[in-house]
Structure formats: C-alpha cells, structure tokens
C-alpha cells in the first residue's frame, strides 16, 4: 500500500515530491517511471541532438534526489488503469498497487494526424529521450528531412537537424510560423531568420501522404496542394495532447485532459492530476483547458503535492508561458498572443515594430486587462507583462507605454485611477493597489515574500479578495 502513488516521473512529479516532503516527511512515496531514467529536462533533447549541450546535463534530478526524499521509483513500470472503487492501480508489469492518494502526472502524447503511410520506419515524433536516440542512431544516413508542424517542438527539431548539416523543410498547415504564438507580422521575423539560415518552409499546406520505396523506406512526402518533396526522414511535430490512456473507462472525468478542480483533484476523491495531462483552470480564458508548458506543470505538481499531503492550497490558474529561440530569432510570449484581429472590438491590439533592430512587441488587451503578449528580438523585462497577466490589473491608463517602453512603474506601483471597484480595508492600500499590493501595502509584499501575485490578486465575482493572508500560506 503506497500512501502516495505518483504516475509519471517528470517535472510535475518532481515538484509534487518536493511539496509532499515539505509537509509529510515519512509517508511512503512510490513513483512509476516507464522511461528507464530519472526525471530529465525534456526540452533539452533538441539541444543535445544539435550538439549544443552535452548529454550529461540531461537529468533534471539525479538518483540522489529520490534517495534524499526517500522515494521509491519503479523504472519500466507504467500505469495501465485505475480502479477508483477499490483504490488500486493496475501496473504494466501485471501487478496491482493499492494507494491512498494518486497523482496522475503522465504528461502528453504527440498527436499524429491522418497521413497516408505514416506508420513505418523513418517517421519520428520528438518528445522523449528514446525518440532522440532513435533519430541519433540514423543521423549519419539522414540527408533530407521534412518536419511536419512549425510549432515549438517542430522549430527546435528543425534547428537541431539543420545544425547537424541536414537539409530541412518545414511544412505548416497555418499561414505562419509558431501559429500558437505569433501573428502574421511576427511570423515574418521568424521567416527572415529561416531564410538566412537556409531552411525552407511551406506555409498554408499540409502533408497528406508519404511515399515509400519497395523496402518501405521514406522517399517523398506529398502535400495537399499536390507538391512533392523528396526526403528520407519525416518528423511529425503537430502538437502534443494530454495522455488520457491510463484513465480510460476508470470513471475519472476527462475532456481534452483530465479535469481537475482548484485543488487539482479529479472528480474522484484522493486522485489528483497535474502537468501536461491535466485540464485545469486558465485565468485568461476563464475556463478549464490543458496548458502544456513546463512552468504550469511545475506549479500544478507543487500545488497537487501540497493538497495530497493534506495542506489546502488553492490553484488560482495558469496560462501558457513560452520562450523559444532558433537561428538567432527569439520570442517570449504568454497568453493569447497570436490573436490577429480585433474581433468585434472585444480585443485591442497594441504593436510596436522596429524593423532595423528586429524588435517587435505586441500586447493583446481585452476588457482593459492584458490577455497576452509576444516580444521578439529584445526580450529584456518581458516578465513584467507576465506579471500584468497574473494580476489581471487595469492597464488602460498606461497603454501608451505598454509596448514602447521596457520599464513601466505603473505595473508595479499603480496610481489611484486604475482601481477596480472592490473592498479595501485601508486607504493606503488603495493608493498602492496593484499586483504587488493588495490587500497588504506594497511594502508589505516586499517584506512578506510568501505571497504570489496571482494569489493576492484573486477575487471572487463580488470583488472580494480570496487571499487569506500570510497566515494561510504556511
């Protein structure tokens, strides 16, 4: 009987272990890790393929982490099903394991679109170390690669393969590079970097079929438009979806991901989910959705861990935060940054372009709140925008500076005019309202560090702050 059973061994699992151990020093923790490796830095696999980073840097945590925290890891064992009534987990080695609390941190699965002949050799996805090793094994014989999808993973793989001296073509269904992050204008900056690096790309088209020779090896891909591209390898990177397989037919509620409430608990008591597999609240959309990025996985794992150990902590919400660079192009973004037009006036879009320096800044505002941003080129202090999203504060009165300046004190220390209607306990905290402020004074936050912006700035519908104060936070 495991007190805490954690399925998955990546960042969400690691932060959950840390959180559990900060409260419960001896409860037994068992981790299921189908990959025979300690938790590793998943995004590094493209850097290692490119040869930019040595392989020894791959582990995120080493064996000593599990020993110090007294965690038992079952390598090579996956979760295959859950019996929510009997509270046992079915494992891939045929065993069953009863548990008290279960954390589903099983991550995401790469999505493979319907492409003719996609099954077979020479076609890869790229999300795990074994994918990396498989590609590296054949690296010497690879000459021309088609990367399907110009998202984060697709672009990083394309960069890595180009650095290995391969001829790379990227095919993207949408009309722009990084379609979840960039708009057309932003994509132009990325395209320029690709042109300079000598990587070809096809936008607004998709791969419908793969042609193989008699022995089954890839020799060509066919696009919807009829174009054919010669290649010997295809990397499919059209996106990652939450991994729902282990909870199929278990009674645990799922939608696009495993649905969790504000303590990251599923509809079944004592079963939690965190990371890429979870569908939790998104503070920008105001509804639940999976956010498949590292910082969100970390935070969710941490909060789930605290709640599993019996310490109630609310998950205020998250939103996608990303930073990606390739071929000298760099973009930092968060939230709904790709919004292209001001749909029925519900969004306001501010942009700043400096073609010469290659700088592009864009902010998407809705209902006077910052909903998303993308900064290209000069990413200094990009985090200030993220802070504005966390705090959901009114940005209308310093809008003129929002994208032209890299410093806006208003964001941290706003003036009286910016205040939403809500209850305050002290006049001073009104003047000092902002994400760094409420319900304590600005300086109080600077001195009482345990507070997180999103927690002090979380209000219910009536405008009452949900933050219980420092005493509540442990």
């Amino acid at each position: 009987m495991a007190k805490y059973l954690i399925a998955g061994n990546s960042v969400a699992a690691v932060s959950a272990i840390q959180a559990i151990r900060s409260i419960d020093a001896d409860g037994e923790i068992v981790v299921l890790s189908p990959e025979r490796i300690t938790a590793y830095c998943r995004p590094l696999i493209t850097y290692i393929l490119a040869g930019d980073v040595e392989e020894w840097r791959l582990p995120y945590k080493r064996e000593s982490f599990y020993q110090q925290n007294n965690v038992k890891v079952l390598y090579g064992v996956a979760l295959e099903g859950v019996d929510t009534e009997k509270r046992v987990a079915y494992l891939s080695d045929g065993d069953t394991m009863p548990f008290e609390k279960l954390l589903l941190a099983v991550g995401g699965k790469p999505f493979i679109p319907p492409i003719e002949n996609v099954e077979g050799p020479d076609v890869y996805t790229y999300t795990t170390v074994s994918d990396m090793n498989a590609l590296r094994e054949r690296l010497a014989e690879i000459k021309r690669v088609v990367v399907v999808g110009a998202g984060m993973i697709g672009m990083k793989v394309a960069e890595a393969l180009k650095k290995c001296g391969k001829e790379v073509t990227i095919v993207e269904l949408m009309d722009r590079i990084l379609p979840m992050v960039l708009d057309r204008k932003g994509s132009e900056f990325a395209e320029r970097a690709l042109d300079k690096a000598g990587v070809s790309y096809v936008l607004g088209d998709s791969v419908v079929g793969i042609h193989r020779d008699a022995s089954g090896r890839v020799k060509q891909v066919e696009l919807k438009s009829g174009t054919k591209i010669d290649c010997d390898t295809v990397v499919v990177a059209v996106g990652v979806r939450p991994n729902l397989e282990p909870v199929k037919d278990s009674g645990i509620e799922t939608n696009r991901g495993i649905i969790v409430d504000d303590t990251l608990e599923t509809n079944v008591e004592g079963i939690y989910a965190a990371g890429d597999c979870a569908e939790a609240y998104d503070i920008i959309l105001g509804q639940k959705r999976p956010n498949l990025v590292w910082p969100v996985a970390y935070r969710q794992g941490f909060i789930a861990g605290l709640n599993m150990a019996g310490y109630r902590r609310r998950y205020v919400g998250g939103f996608p935060i990303n930073s990606i660079g390739f071929f000298g192009f760099q973009v930092c973004s968060a939230g709904m940054s790709a919004v292209e037009d001001e749909v029925n006036g519900s969004f306001e879009i501010l942009t700043y372009v400096d073609e010469e320096k290659g700088v592009y800044r864009k902010a998407v505002i809705g209902n006077n709140r910052l909903l998303g941003f993308a900064v290209i080129g000069d990413v200094r202090r990009a985090g200030l925008y993220t802070g504005l999203i966390w705090s959901r504060m009114d940005v209308s009165y310093f809008k003129d500076k929002l994208v032209t300046d890299v410093s806006f004190p208003e964001a941290i220390y706003p003036l009286e005019g910016a205040l939403p209607a809500m209850n305050f306990s002290s006049r001073k905290s009104i003047r000092r309202f902002g994400w760094a402020v409420f319900p304590y004074s600005y300086r109080r936050l600077f001195t009482g560090y345990s507070a997180r912006i999103e927690e002090i700035c979380a209000f219910d519908e009536k405008g009452v702050c949900l933050y219980g104060g420092d005493d509540d936070q442990g």
Binding site: A19, S22, I23, C41, P43, L44, Y47, R57, Y60, W294, P295, Y298, F302, I321, N322, S323, I324, G325, Q330, C332, S333, A334, V379, R380, R381, A382, G383, L384, T386, G387, S391, V406, S407, F408, P409, E410, I412, Y413, L419, A421, M422, N423, F424, S425, S426, R427, K428, I430, W435, Y442, R443, F446, T447, G448, Y449, S450, R452, I453, G463, G474
Partner: protein, 165 residues
C-alpha cells in the same frame, strides 16, 4: 517550504531620489573589471536592479528572492536554483539561455546577460558583506535585511475602513 530568514534588498520608495547610483554600483560589481571606468568603456555594463521612475516617484526594483520563485519553476534545466539560505541563483554553466525565466519573472528581474546567451540576475553580491547597491545608496532607500526585522521599523499604516463600489 519557505526560507523566511533570507536577507533581501528592500526598497523604500519614500526615500528614493531616482539618482540611479544603485544601478551604477551593481553594474560595476558584476563586471569583470570591478572598476568604474573599465566597466563602462570596455566591459558590458549591466545592472540587475532597475530604478523605475514615474514623475517624482521612484524606487529601485530588484529580484525579490521569492519564496516560491516563478523563475525557478520555469527553468527547464535546473540552472535557476533556490539555495538553502533563500537566495535565488543562476548557475551559469547549466544555463542554456532559453529565457523561460526571463518571461516568467513578474518583476522583470531576470534578463539576458549582456553579450552572452545566459540568464543574469541579482546574486546578492556573494563577495561582499553588504550588496553593492545598498552600500551605494546615499538616501537609505535600499536596506538589506530579513523581512521580519524590517517590518519592525515600518511606520504603522493608518487603518481607515473604506468600502468602495
């Protein structure tokens, strides 16, 4: 969970004149030369603290060394690290310059390092007893202390009950 006793650099906005001496001191301390002239003529001056000015109002904004740091959560390599003494430090040799931390810190306190693809942030001056910015401030607008001790000196806030809306 939290390292409550961490000493931090705390700004006192009433005292700040916006003179930016803290920025200069920080840039010199963290240059390879540790010399004003060489730093600004030959080095790549970069200050980790930034003086935010809005009219007559200003304060020096620096890393908060958060108890639950956003930058550490976001770091995909573990290069950004919270030490046992509470300082949040970036280990440059592990950093790959992905800037996940830059986009995550809501205070804009981590930035790309001038001239190299690494993250750079306040390290609370490990070679000094008092951080350079605090020592340089002529107006006592920066103090280096633990939170609890500082609270002790703060003037009481007027507690006027007030309901709006």
């Amino acid at each position: 969970m939290s390292a409550k006793r961490t000493k931090r650099v705390l700004p006192i906005e009433e005292n700040c004149m916006g003179c930016r001496l803290c920025e200069v001191a920080c840039a010199i301390e963290h240059s390879e030369f540790k010399d004003p002239l060489l730093t600004f003529f030959q080095g790549k001056p970069q200050s980790f603290t930034v003086v935010e000015v809005d009219g007559a109002f200003s304060f020096s904004l620096n890393c908060r060394h958060c108890d639950e740091p956003y930058c550490v959560e976001a770091c995909i390599t573990g290069a950004m690290h919270k030490e046992h003494d509470g300082r949040v430090i970036v280990y440059e040799d592990l950093c790959i310059g992905c800037y996940m931390c830059v986009v995550s810190c809501p205070w804009g306190a981590v930035n790309p390092k001038e001239g190299s693809k690494k993250a750079a942030k306040c390290d609370l001056c490990p070679d000094r007893e008092l951080p350079a910015c605090v020592q340089a401030c002529p107006n006592r607008a920066l103090v280096y202390d633990t939170s609890e001790e500082l609270i002790f000196f703060l003037p009481e806030e007027e507690e006027e009950p007030f309901i709006e809306g």
